[in-house]
C-alpha cells in the first residue's frame, strides 16, 4: 500500500538578546557552569521575574516576518512538570494567548512554491543542561541556559516529506537571520527542531497517530530521523500493529529512534496564568513601530535582485538563501558596474573556495569592495579571467587588495606587441609539428599554439592581441 507522510514541526529558537528573559544575567554561550545564574533564573523563593522588553519585540518581529497576526493582548502561563532541568518545577511559557498566531511561510519545493502554515509563535524560557554520566548514579546540572529567552514556532501538519521539512527549516532559519533575532546555530542548540510525524494510507482523510521526535540538532539528522520514523511506522502498520503516541529520541550515531518513556506518563502540565507577570499588550502603534524596523525579507530581496540587478532567478535564489552571502553580493554589486560578473564570481570561485576551506559566507576575509575591484580589473582588461581566479585565491590568504596583488605578483596582461612577438616566434620555432598541422588546415593546432604562448607568458598575454600576432606570424611563414 502507498502511504502519505504527515509532518508538523515545533522549532525552538534562542533569541539573541543580551540578557535573559526575566532577569539581568547574560545569555552568553559557553561560560563556566553556573556562573550566569541568579536567584531569579533559579527560581529561589520570593523573587520576582520582570519580562525583558526586547523579547516581546523580537517575538513580534518573528511573527510579522512569518505573516502572523499579532495578539493585542497576551499573557504568560506556568507549565508545571518535575524535571531537574527546571529548578522552579515549572516553565514560564504561553498557553492559550500566544503573542503570534495564524501565519505562514512559503518554501521552495520541487514543482514550485508551497505554503506552510504557522499555528503559533510564543515566548518562553529555556531550561538548564543536564549532564548524565553513563557509569555514575548522579546527574550534574548547569543552569546557565536557564531563563535564556526562546520562541517556539509551531507549524501546521503541512509537510509531506523529509525534503519539505528541511526546506522549511532552511527558509525559517534564513528569515530569522535576516531579521537578526537569533544566530540560529543548530550545533550550539540555538535552533532546535522537534518533529511530529504520522503516516496514513494515501487517500485517507483522517490523520494517523503521531509520534514526536526530539533531539534533532542538524538538518541532516532531521532528514534521516523523518525517513527512519516514517519507515518504522509503516512497518508497524503493515505487520498489523498500532502506533503508540509517544515521544521518541533520535540517536544520530546509531541512526535509530527509541521510545523515551518506558511507562506511559501523562502529559498533564496543569497550565495556569503566571501570577508574577503582567499581561502583554501590543497596541497598533507599537506593532507598526516594530514592522517599520523589519529589514527586507529574503523573498522580497530575491525579486529585487532579478528586477534591479537583472540577475537570473537561479543566481538570485542562491544569493538570497543566505543573508551573509546576499549582503556580500550587494555590497560588491553597488561598487561595480557589472552585478552579473560579481554574482558569477560569488556562485563560482568564492563558493568553491569557501567549500574547500569549510568556511561560511560570514567568514570571507576581505571586504566586498575588493571583489568589485577584481571584477573591474577583468572588465578593463588589466587581467584575464584565469588570472582573476588566481588573485582571488590570494585574497583569501593575504590581507591585500586585488590591485596590490596584481602588481606584486606581476600579473598584468601583457599587451606589449614587441614582447609578445618574441614569444610567438619562440613558440613557432619550438613546435614545428603543430605549425605543420596548422598549415594542413588543422584548427586544433592553432589552439595548441595559443595555449603554449599563454603558458610562456604565465597566462598574462592579452588574448586578443596574442591571437592576432600568432596568426600574422604563421601567415608570414606560409609565404
Amino acid at each position: 500500500m502507498e502511504y502519505e507522510i504527515i509532518i508538523g514541526l515545533e522549532v525552538h529558537v534562542e533569541l539573541s538578546t543580551k540578557s535573559k528573559i526575566y532577569c539581568s544575567c547574560t545569555t552568553d554561550f559557553g561560560g563556566e557552569a553556573n556562573t550566569h545564574i541568579c536567584p531569579i533564573c533559579t527560581g529561589m523563593p520570593g523573587v520576582l521575574p520582570v519580562l525583558n522588553k526586547k523579547v516581546v519585540e523580537y517575538a513580534v518581529k518573528a511573527g510579522l516576518a512569518a505573516n502572523c497576526s499579532i495578539a493585542e493582548y497576551s499573557k504568560q502561563d506556568r507549565k508545571n512538570y518535575f524535571y531537574p532541568d527546571l529548578p522552579k518545577a515549572y516553565q514560564i511559557s504561553q498557553y492559550d494567548l500566544p503573542l503570534c498566531q495564524n501565519g505562514y511561510i512559503d518554501i521552495e519545493v520541487e514543482g514550485g512554491a508551497k505554503r506552510i502554515g504557522i499555528t503559533r509563535i510564543h515566548i518562553e524560557e529555556d531550561a538548564g543542561k543536564l549532564m548524565h554520566d553513563e557509569n555514575e548514579t548522579d546527574t550534574l546540572i548547569d543552569y546557565n541556559r536557564c531563563g535564556v529567552p526562546l520562541i517556539e514556532i509551531v507549524t501546521e501538519p503541512d509537510m509531506r516529506s523529509a525534503q519539505e521539512a528541511r526546506a522549511f527549516v532552511e527558509s525559517l532559519r534564513n528569515i530569522l537571520q535576516y531579521i537578526d533575532i537569533s544566530d540560529c546555530k543548530m550545533q550550539e542548540g540555538s535552533l532546535r527542531v522537534d518533529v511530529n510525524l504520522s503516516v496514513r494510507p494515501k487517500g485517507q482523510k483522517e490523520f494517523g497517530t503521531r509520534t514526536e521526535m526530539k533531539n534533532l540538532n542538524s538538518l541532516r539528522s532531521i532528514v534521516r530521523a523523518i525517513e527512519s520514523e516514517a519507515k518504522r511506522q509503516i512497518e508497524v502498520i503493515e505487520s498489523g500493529g498500532i502506533i503508540v503516541q509517544e515521544t521518541r529520541r533520535w540517536d544520530d550515531q546509531k541512526g535509530i529512534s527509541y521510545s523515551m518513556r518506558t511507562k506511559e506518563e501523562a502529559h498533564d502540565y496543569r497550565y495556569f496564568p503566571e501570577p508574577d507577570l503582567m499581561p502583554v499588550v501590543v497596541d497598533e502603534k507599537w506593532k507598526e513601530e516594530i514592522k517599520r524596523s523589519l529589514p527586507e525579507l529574503p523573498d522580497a530581496r530575491r525579486k529585487r535582485y532579478i528586477s534591479g540587478y537583472g540577475l537570473p532567478e537561479y543566481d538570485a535564489s542562491i544569493l538570497t538563501g543566505s543573508k551573509a552571502l546576499a549582503d556580500f553580493f550587494e555590497n560588491a554589486a553597488v561598487k561595480s558596474n557589472n552585478p552579473k560578473a560579481v554574482s558569477n564570481f560569488i556562485l563560482g570561485d568564492v563558493s568553491r573556495i569557501l567549500n574547500d576551506k569549510g568556511m561560511e559566507a560570514e567568514d570571507i576575509p576581505f571586504p566586498a569592495e575588493y571583489l568589485a575591484r577584481l571584477v573591474k580589473l577583468v572588465d578593463m582588461g588589466t587581467i584575464s579571467t584565469t588570472i582573476a581566479k588566481k588573485v582571488l585565491e590570494i585574497m583569501f590568504e593575504q590581507e591585500k587588495d586585488p590591485e596590490a596583488i596584481v602588481k606584486e605578483e606581476g600579473l598584468e596582461v601583457v599587451s606589449d606587441e614587441k614582447a609578445l612577438i618574441e614569444v610567438v616566434k619562440k613558440v613557432i620555432s619550438n613546435n614545428e609539428k603543430s605549425v605543420e598541422d596548422y598549415r594542413k588546415g588543422k584548427d586544433k593546432a592553432f589552439g595548441f599554439l595559443v595555449g603554449q604562448a599563454m603558458k610562456e607568458t604565465k597566462g598574462k598575454a592579452n588574448p586578443k592581441l596574442l591571437n592576432k600576432l600568432l596568426k600574422e606570424e604563421l601567415e608570414k611563414k606560409n609565404l
Binding site: D268, M278, P279
Partner: protein, 104 residues
C-alpha cells in the same frame, strides 16, 4: 481529567486522588486518600457554586491586578557568585548541582 460543568457536581474518585498525587509527587496512605476524596469534593462543590452565576458577559480574569506591560530593558548585570548560588544545594560536584540520575 477534571471538567467542571455547570450544575454538575464532580465526583472525586480514588483514581483522581492518586492521579493528582502522582503529578505532585506525593505519596499518600490509604487513610489520607480517603480524607482527600472528601476534602476535594468539598472544595470542588464550593467552587462549583460560582457556576450558578451567569458569567457569559464577563471576560476571564487573566490577572488580578489591572496593569499591563511591565518590562525591563535588555541590560546585563552581574550574576551571583557561583559559590553563593551553590551554597544551599544539598549535593554538588564540579561546580554543578547534583541530583540522583534522571534519564528521560
Amino acid at each position: 481529567m477534571f471538567t467542571i460543568r455547570k450544575g454538575i457536581y464532580m465526583k472525586v474518585t480514588k483514581e483522581t486522588i492518586e492521579y493528582v498525587a502522582n503529578l505532585a509527587r506525593l505519596k499518600l496512605t490509604e487513610e489520607e486518600k480517603e480524607k482527600f476524596i472528601r476534602d476535594m469534593e468539598n472544595i470542588i462543590s464550593y467552587v462549583d457554586k460560582l457556576n450558578e452565576l451567569d458569567t457569559s458577559e464577563i471576560a476571564p480574569t487573566d490577572h488580578v491586578i489591572p496593569i499591563n506591560n511591565v518590562f525591563r530593558d535588555d541590560e546585563v548585570l552581574d550574576s551571583y557568585p557561583k559559590d553563593k548560588m551553590l551554597m544551599n544545594a544539598p549535593s554538588k560536584e564540579n561546580g554543578c548541582f547534583k541530583v540522583p540520575k534522571v534519564v528521560e
